[in-house]
Symmetry: C2
Subunit: 670 residues, 2 copies
């Protein structure tokens, strides 16, 4: 135990010491030396040497490694002070020990709170942000002010800038996280946060908590399935469905609490929503927002709200209408193209005269669905781009909703077809079991195997090419082997299957979880065992996703994210949809016993009721609570507050805790 603790300390305290003699190499610039030869004249001198000098001058520690296949790796490390100074220039906001978030100030670094694990001043996300900012701003030796890295990227000399795995920490994580199959749902979240950043850590926190909560419906489902309820038998599906729906609501609500407390533990600030928005804007937009308000005050005096309301109000409604239009296009595409296609397949599959035709049908279906999904993804990306969302996070969310819409139909339409049109509950059950056990478990294996095979293939090609080079140059060395840097470069990136414009590989992982959550909640009344299949799958998923990130993939660039974002709304809406689907399934389940029929008039009224409930939610979304000009004003306020916040530190040091306390306790006239 003590040994383990000391191992943990030596692994995670690497970035803690302020005067670290040898900071670890955290990012690498991959250079193609053949291109260097080709463009030596054009670039004026040796770009590798130029780059190394420029980076060293910026205070970074630089080391150059020769790799296979004419590649050169420029590895970069940064002493703490260099990061600190960069953070100051970037105006990074950080929580202080007094509980206030202020802009970082290197001279007052002791006032800022440290990382939960390893006691470091900066998180990996912050270090990466600073490193990239420094790398992107160094200029060449000439009197040009053009950033050197951008120039070399444009010239094709730099192939990539990539974050590097840290061998010691990776080993610790593999040992204490990825291979700990017997830990079930518990995971070293602080270490995951320290190594991968908030977004990945929050995914695993969600996956762990969801799996833990699944135990309850899973065990209940197994008990209900194994025991004989006798006369109470007909009551089991509705009761179980009710329990699962309530369970889903309670689980998501508790997740939000857990999310809030993780956010707090990891020192992610609360009030920064406005600031994040302003930082996501382009420089022109930022200027327009803030200068706009200043101009107005000159022209309109104190009462600027009329002007702001007019200008921003129009823009606000145009954006809303553009979004509504795009969403309608997306929904129309899904309903008019995808829905008939999926129904056709389900129908033909059910009534195929023999198995051979069924197999052919399925093959055709799988091929065309691959193609259609790709087209759908392209359409979704195009639509999202045409919405002109200024905020990158909002664009990613809009994308997530659209793609999930496509997957929603694709995943569930076959199931509903069996249940509602044909009341074929045994086929429905076997399809559910098959999807959850075979598909999801399989995909866990594939997720790891495909990248591994890709890597082996790339490695093989690289070795082949290297041997070829050696033969050409006449060297008579033995079979070359691939260096560690080469390995890192050859492992595949952690990317989303729909394209890397908005999201990284977490998109696919969340999509899988959401589809599964839908099956657990929406079909609870039809098949109580679904939850136990999901539980089984997720126990494997936790470790296989961990292995994927640690071993088979390149280290992803860290992303700061306070929550699971759009996915939370998707999970919550699946909970609401589950209420309706379970009721519909119950009607179908009992209907074949001939106990009742739905008259058309009553059905119309019920439909009306559900449409109205939908309209209520829709309108609440369409009409934002707060006018855009007010929001802009709030953003401006937050920005001004931020602009002066670092000066508050001195003030806070002057006034002691006692003084603040006294002021609180005597708020009335003294």
């Amino acid at each position: 135990m003590e040994m383990e603790e000391s191992a943990r300390k030596s692994t995670w305290d690497v970035n803690a010491k302020e005067t670290n003699s040898a900071p670890p190499f955290e990012i690498a610039i991959v250079i193609d030396s053949r291109e260097v030869e080709n463009k030596r004249n054009e670039l004026g001198g040796d770009p590798i040497r130029h780059l190394s000098t420029a980076l060293s001058n910026a205070g970074l520690v630089v080391e150059t490694d020769d790799g296979a296949n004419h590649l050169v790796y420029v590895k970069i490390a940064a002493p703490l002070e260099v990061i600190g100074r960069a953070a100051e220039k970037l105006r990074l906001r950080k929580p202080t020990n007094v509980g206030l978030d202020v802009v970082f100030d290197w001279e007052r670094r002791d006032a800022f709170s440290r990382q939960p694990l390893g006691d470091a001043l900066f998180s990996w996300t912050e270090r990466y942000q600073c490193l990239i900012a420094i790398v992107n701003t160094v200029t060449g030796t000439g009197n040009t002010s053009e950033p050197l890295v951008k120039k070399l990227q444009d010239a094709g000399v730099i192939k990539e800038v990539m974050p590097l795995h840290q061998e010691q920490q990776r080993k610790w994580l593999v040992e204490h996280w990825a291979m700990r199959w017997m830990d079930f749902t518990s995971q070293p979240l602080d270490a995951i946060y320290a190594y991968f950043g908030a977004k990945v850590a929050i995914y695993f926190a969600f996956l762990g908590m969801y799996t833990q909560w699944l135990i309850f419906p899973a065990v209940l489902g197994i008990i209900l399935n194994l025991t004989d309820q006798g006369a109470l038998e007909p009551a089991v599906p509705p009761v179980y469905a009710m329990i699962v729906v309530v369970w889903a609501v309670v689980f998501l609500q508790f997740w939000r609490r857990r999310n809030a407390s993780l956010q707090n533990n990891w020192g992610m600030s609360y009030e920064s929503e406005e600031l994040q928005t302003i930082k996501a804007l382009t420089k022109e937009q930022q200027g327009a927002l803030l200068r706009g308000a200043a101009d107005q005050e000159e022209v309109y005096g104190a009462n600027v709200s009329d002007y702001e309301a007019k200008v921003l109000g129009r823009e606000e409604w145009l954006t809303r209408i553009r979004t509504l239009k795009n969403n309608m296009i997306a929904v129309t595409c899904i309903l008019c193209v995808q829905l008939p296609f999926e129904l056709l397949y389900a129908h033909l599959n059910k009534f195929a005269p023999n198995d051979l035709i069924k197999y052919i049908l399925t093959a055709v279906y799988i091929l065309s669905i691959q193609y259609l999904t790709k087209v759908g993804g392209q359409v979704a990306i195009a639509l999202t781009k045409s919405q002109q969302l200024v905020n990158k996070e909002a664009a990613a969310n809009s994308m997530i909703y659209k793609v999930f819409g496509v997957y929603f139909l694709q995943s569930y339409i076959g199931l509903f077809y069996q249940a509602i049109l044909h009341k074929d509950f045994s086929t429905l059950r076997s399809m559910l079991a098959q999807r959850l056990i075979v598909s999801q478990l399989m995909s866990n294996v594939v997720e790891n195997l495909v990248p591994y095979a890709t890597y082996r293939w790339a490695e093989y090609k690289a070795r082949k090419a290297e041997d070829q080079i050696k033969r050409e140059t006449g060297e008579n060395a033995p079979d070359s082997h691939v260096s560690r840097m080469d390995k890192e470069f050859l492992t595949p990136k952690y990317e989303a299957s729909i394209g890397s414009d908005f999201e990284d590989g977490l998109f696919d992982d969340f999509l899988e979880l959401a589809v599964q959550f839908g099956m657990v909640t929406m079909f609870a009344s039809a098949y109580p065992l679904v939850a136990s299949f999901a539980l089984l799958n997720n126990l494997v998923e936790i470790r296989s996703d961990a292995l994927k990130l640690l071993v088979t993939m390149r280290r992803p660039a860290p992303r700061q994210a306070a929550s699971i974002g759009a996915w939370l709304s998707i999970f919550q809406n699946l909970g609401v949809v589950a209420i309706v689907t379970n009721c519909a399934l119950l009607v179908c389940l009992y209907d074949d016993a001939g106990r009742w029929k739905i008259e058309p008039g009553l059905a119309a009224i019920l439909l009306l009721e559900h449409l109205l409930l939908l309209a209520k939610f829709g309108f609440s979304w369409f009409v934002a609570e707060e006018p855009a000009w007010l929001k802009a004003r709030r953003i401006k306020k937050a920005y001004i507050q931020d602009h002066v916040s670092h000066r508050l530190l001195g003030i806070l040091e002057e006034s002691s805790q006692e003084e603040i306390l006294q002021a609180v306790q005597n708020p009335a006239l003294a």
Copy 2:
């Protein structure tokens, strides 16, 4: 037009000038001079003179008026600087011209934004708050530090401290607001805000906007009622109901936007939620919250969250469970006592053999409902108090929900009884028309007549008593008449009918509106004319409520409120309930044509679905998104920020608008 403008200026700019030679008298202390005689020895000297001296010493302008019936009125006015200094000591937060809210600082008063109307530095709410704080803290001439006013109140010498009407402004408002019947829904909201404070102004803003929006369903309802739709006849009720439900959702959403923009125009700050919470706490609780956090940091170092989570987490759940218990008691009382009672009355009334018995029944019902409502109000107050809500606003809201529950059943159960149990739609319609036209219009008259009659009676008594005194003292004066100050004292207070513990007279006005809104939305499918009755009533309501506040009532103490609070949730929930009730009404409406029947099994499933939807909303409420300890931490943060915020002013003056702009446009490394 120009004359009107100058009249407006001279009326509302009274508090604008900084060196106002004669500030208006805004509050009065009512003293019973008989008690003064009785307790002269006990109090040591003449308390009236003591009080006047003490108030003058505090910088206030004091004038004493003799009234009828041994009353003495000490009228108080305050020069601007006295208010300003008091605001500084009270640490009032005010918006500045740069758009930041900071604690008021008299020396830097020019940096703060001014009132929208009259250009004054302080709003009436702020002035009142400062005046009351000064009055409550002045001490006697002796070496005691006991507040003089409290001592005199305890001794029975001071009967009341009341805000005074401002004759000029009141006259302006009567002319330009209360008597402008032809303005329909438009009102001088800024003037209402300046004279009555935010809470009253927001009520009238809501009433005006609601009335304006009512025009659409009212006109549509009249058209549908007057024209003949021929074959489309059966489609009218569902379509109209759908339109009204959607209308309600859209209206409330737009109201929230309007509310936000009014809030901004009136300079009410946004971020102050946490601050309001902390200010509502007792001194002990404030100390515990802030000192607690400080202690924890000593003991637990950086990671205090575990400790906080444990301590505050327990308290949080206990509060929730206490609230849940109380709500369940309230719901049980309503369902087990009120519901059977109301149903019994409706039933007996329907099947009464003759009219005489009906009248007797109704008389008994009205008498007992008066008594039951009073008991219910007492129970609600007791329950709310037992919840130990630290926040006064939260207690008022909790009270509002409970009392509305009682009124909900009382107002609607008879209507549902006719519609659902007896499918008697003609009685339902006549009951709706009767309630909206007779009851609500009548109540508008009564609302004004009762206080007026009360006032006349009090005036008559006072004059009688005065004559008696004169006869006793042997004066031979003519019939005394009542002075202006006497009149103000004799007019009734603006109080809630359920008791003044949590709310003032706005409670009754909002309750009336909510009951009406429920009738408009919930019974839309049964009777399209309801909206037009409501419109008619509200056009009268706006002016009669204005008259009540300006003429027949004492000026209410101003209250700062950012929104219509709990009433908004009630209106929104009525919108959701309306979806269900309209569907139920439609089923009943068509059912008597014998077109369909609901089988018990299907009914059970539908019930289940609605229960689940309810459970979903219920659980979202029960499990708060954010743990209590996190909220406490956020509050602490906000408080610290507030504590140092006034020092930001100097900093903001140093850094010009240009400098801020530049900083925005170059956020990257320079």
